[in-house]
Symmetry: none
Subunit: 243 residues, 2 copies
Amino acid sequence: MINKRSPIPIYYQLEELIKDMIEKGTLKKGDMIPPEREYAEKYEISRMTVRQALNNLVNDGYLSRVKGKGTFVENRKIEQPLMGLTSFTEDMVSRGLEPRTKLLHLLKKEASASESEKLKIKQGAPVYEVKRIRLADDEPMALETMFLSAELVGELKEEVVNGSLYQYFEESLGYSIVNARQGLEASIVRKSEREYLNVPSGSPVLLIERTSYLADGKPLEFVKSIYRADRYKFLIDMNREGN
Amino acid sequence: MINKRSPIPIYYQLEELIKDMIEKGTLKKGDMIPPEREYAEKYEISRMTVRQALNNLVNDGYLSRVKGKGTFVENRKIEQPLMGLTSFTEDMVSRGLEPRTKLLHLLKKEASASESEKLKIKQGAPVYEVKRIRLADDEPMALETMFLSAELVGELKEEVVNGSLYQYFEESLGYSIVNARQGLEASIVRKSEREYLNVPSGSPVLLIERTSYLADGKPLEFVKSIYRADRYKFLIDMNREGN
DNA sequence: TAAGTCTATTGGTCTAGACAACTAGAATTT
DNA sequence: AAATTCTAGTTGTCTAGACCAATAGACTTA
């Protein structure tokens, strides 16, 4: 449970413990969590330490406090990593659809002029081009072409490309996307795309281009996606913090 | 400076005190602020109380801490209006185009079921429906239909509707939009829209629906826009603060 | 019945320390 | 001169309390 002799701070251990329960659904939105004093007694730690853990979870949007009542589980939605920027996988799951990916090709090549410009690398530098069909409930949802600087991502194997690349970047490479720029426009499906998307000629599609940036400002990826308009609506919430 | 007998929490007083110095420029970016123990001694308060103040400022992006070195002033977050949410007028200007608006109609009516739901008002409550053609460099760019609760905006005159409504809301009514939810999808232009947008049959269009919320959570407006895909690309930047 | 009062429980603020971990520069040793 | 060690100063973690403020339900009173 909680290891007081661990070099990992107690408040952090408690934080992860509660966060897990929220993410696993043991604690649902609106539930009241045990009072601070109870945590303190149960784990034989100071209440201030409990509060440090809870404060962090409140700041991250997992919990909210009400004086005199208790501390309650919030909608995990707020914790979205980057507003409006979710991976296809997460996006589909949140819509109640089952995501799947079909790899069309994965190739390593020299960066073209436009690719090098987007990724801010030298022309001719090695890049990966990953082209995939994204399915939801086994029906094509989007056609996606992603460009990655080979220097940043190292060797890219087929197994990796079949899953969620974001997860791979975060968990295996330790990269964290902090900025993204997207462009969205409407268009008509091209002939070459029709066979992949399985739509009739003349169908509308949503073109999404995204460049994602790491903390140091380097672009990690450039992605062009073509979404079926009959199946996909791009949703985005925006807000500014108080003050 | 700091009043220990005030009902205002000490940590909050200290917070405001430091925040003021940052905003007034007494403390500049990169400056190291006095060590926690110094604040504690100077104001005769506990170091934990100082830390509570500093923690809040760190969370708000005013300060950053470096273990073993000190606490430093950060670049004060730029007060972005609302990421990705600019008025048509601002949007066009930033693209180097000259915005113009042509009013199609301005009418007051009773809210339909869907309108009342979007605006969170009672069905049958008075709403304004404003339908406008948005032009850029005198060429149609979008067709826009906006719904507003009459109770919130009071009387809406034609003169007002011909300019930037956002400006009117902010400056004349004192409303400030803090949240917005947008949905974007691709479609094919409808026959009824073609004459306004001046595009051939079968042309792709970008449908944008937006609901804007005030600080108290009330929706101020619900807007449906139809943009010409051949002229308009929706651009959005996203970022998350530190972490 | 209705209104007011008490009480237990909750989170909010605050103290006065302790020791750990990290940084940078000074002092020492090799 | 270079490498190592020491030291002062910083933030980070944690304790074991104290009292305040808000809530909700039980209880009392008019």
